[in-house]
């Protein structure tokens, strides 16, 4: 049994990501016989016992970090990332960084050495056309590393994004995918046992489902 824990800290829609993992888990079970069980939980024991951990997030970073800190989710993620595959999504990815500009400035978990910045009020593309914020919709992701989670996902596939703040990283060797929206942004990160996406794989139809399926068979950094 492949046990997947989706960390619940009371923010937003965890149903979608759990359902998408169950969906690809059922496909895998039909092929390999190995079943997947998804648990939405904030129980440290359940998260410690899981084979893989998903760290999701939607909404404003201040509220998310308040709940993350209250429930000590940072310690759960830090511990999980030492021993097993962890997938962080959207605000989950941003929460791994050192600091976010959102809500007047919020300290995040600092598990990765990046920062979260605002797109800006006057964002423009190469042709000087105005770009709306949030960055909402399907954008291309250029794969910048040959990571197991990209297996079967064509380079430059479109994924669904919805965010007004973007991640920038000092350690560029940790960047696994990039997108362009007025500027270059980090779309995916690979660091040891962690894979993180700014986009929502659970909302990205075939490309996203393939990535989630890869996550279920990924062994982490040693892969």
């Amino acid at each position: 049994m492949n046990q997947v824990a989706v960390i619940d800290y009371g923010m937003g829609n965890l149903h979608s990501v759990a359902k998408a993992i169950e969906h690809v888990g059922a496909e895998l079970a039909a092929e390999s016989g190995q079943a997947t069980k998804v648990t939405i939980t904030s129980d440290p024991a359940q998260i410690a016992a899981a084979d893989r951990v998903v760290f999701p997030g939607v909404g404003a970073i201040r509220d998310c970090m308040a709940e993350i800190n209250r429930l000590d989710v940072g310690a759960m993620v830090a511990s999980a990332m030492k021993t097993k595959p962890v997938l962080a999504i959207c605000v989950g990815m941003q929460a791994l960084m050192a600091h976010s500009e959102e809500n007047g400035g919020v300290d995040c978990l600092g598990l990765l050495s990046g920062r979260v910045k605002f797109f800006g009020e006057d964002l423009r593309d190469d042709n000087d056309a105005r770009l709306k914020v949030p960055h909402m919709g399907w954008n291309r992701v250029t794969q910048t590393s040959d990571h197991p989670l990209w297996r079967g996902v064509p380079d430059n596939s479109r994924f669904y994004f919805v965010h007004s703040y973007y991640v920038t990283m000092d350690e560029t060797d940790q960047v696994a995918g990039r997108s362009v929206y007025g500027r270059e942004i980090v779309a995916a990160i690979s660091a040891g046992n962690i894979f993180a996406t700014q986009f929502h794989p659970e909302k990205s139809q075939n490309a996203g489902l393939t990535l989630l399926r890869n996550f279920l068979t990924w062994n982490g950094a040693s892969d």
């Binding site: 937003g12 829609n13 149903h15 979608s16 359902k19 998408a20 169950e22 969906h23 939607v58 909404g59 404003a60 009020e121 593309d125 105005r130 770009l131 709306k132 914020v133 949030p134 960055h135 909402m136 919709g137 399907w138 954008n139 291309r140 064509p154 430059n156 596939s157 479109r158 669904y160 919805v162 965010h163 007004s164 362009v180 929206y181 929502h200 659970e202 909302k203 990205s204 139809q205 075939n206 490309a207 996203g208 489902l209």
Partner: protein, 258 residues
């Protein structure tokens, strides 16, 4: 290389059944919103909008079950609108698997509700639906007002000012329906769309009046829409989502084809 313009089929549902008829040739149950949504997802739709027109409060439990069932099978964003009046309504829909909720009448009756909703759940999931009607005479500068109750009830609210206010309160997206065009199949009110799109910095979904594929492309190219919503041209099988995207691409619009 840029963000794709989105095509969004809209399902009107009453007590858990799709109404206004969906006529896919090969679909088992065209009244089943789960089946219809799954089919649209596989056909390349970029999002689904589920509009609940169920009248009675008691029957709304069905809607939650339906949303949960759709979210379990459709892996693209799902917006739920119709009857969203309280923070609890929003929480219920998000917990059932909706990614966004669309607020219409409740915003008109209590604009602060939009602010509270955006603060609590984040702007990314708060869509404000605007039903606009042209009220200017032929020789006057263009002016639109907000109408409720399916376009029957005027509110006196001027559209541009209203949309700016809603965005300042935290609306993350505007679903803009021209009540003059809705159901006419003569195309979007492009002037309305462009005026609203230029007035605010959040994405605009154009709605109301689509009768052919050029209308969709015009919505983006002339109406400055970020997404286009249509119902009947897709439901009745006049065009597939892929045909719509191919046509938009042929007119130079970035769409998601993969």
């Amino acid at each position: 290389m840029a963000l794709a313009k989105r095509i969004i089929p809209c399902l009107d549902c009453d007590r858990g059944r799709v109404v206004k008829g969906v006529q896919f040739v090969d679909i088992r149950d065209a009244g089943d919103p789960v089946e219809v949504s799954r089919r649209y997802g596989e056909a390349g739709a970029d999002e689904i909008t589920f509009l609940d027109i169920t009248a009675s409060h008691e029957d709304r439990a069905t809607t939650v079950d339906t949303v949960r069932a759709i979210a379990g099978q459709v892996f693209i964003p799902l917006t739920v609108g119709g009857g969203i009046r309280t923070l609890e309504d929003i929480r219920t829909m998000l917990n059932a698997g909706a990614d966004k909720v669309s607020i219409n009448t409740a915003a008109v009756q209590n604009p602060e509700f939009v602010r509270e909703a955006a603060e609590r759940f984040g702007s990314q999931c708060i869509v404000v639906a605007v039903d606009a009607k042209r009220v200017s005479a032929e020789d006057e500068p263009l002016r639109w007002e907000i109408f409720t109750h399916g376009g029957r009830k005027p509110t006196g609210l001027e559209v541009i000012e209203w949309v700016r206010r809603m965005v300042s309160y935290g609306a993350g997206e505007i679903l803009l329906t021209s009540m003059d065009r809705d159901g006419t199949k003569i195309g979007f009110d492009l002037e309305l769309n462009r005026a609203v799109s230029e007035a605010v910095n959040v994405p605009i979904i154009a709605s109301g009046g689509v009768g052919n594929l050029d209308h969709l492309a015009d919505g983006v190219l002339l109406g400055a829409a970020d997404a286009v919503l249509a119902a009947s041209i897709f439901h009745f099988g006049e065009y597939t989502i892929r045909e719509a995207k191919a046509h938009m691409a042929s007119r130079g619009i970035e769409v998601r084809l993969d």
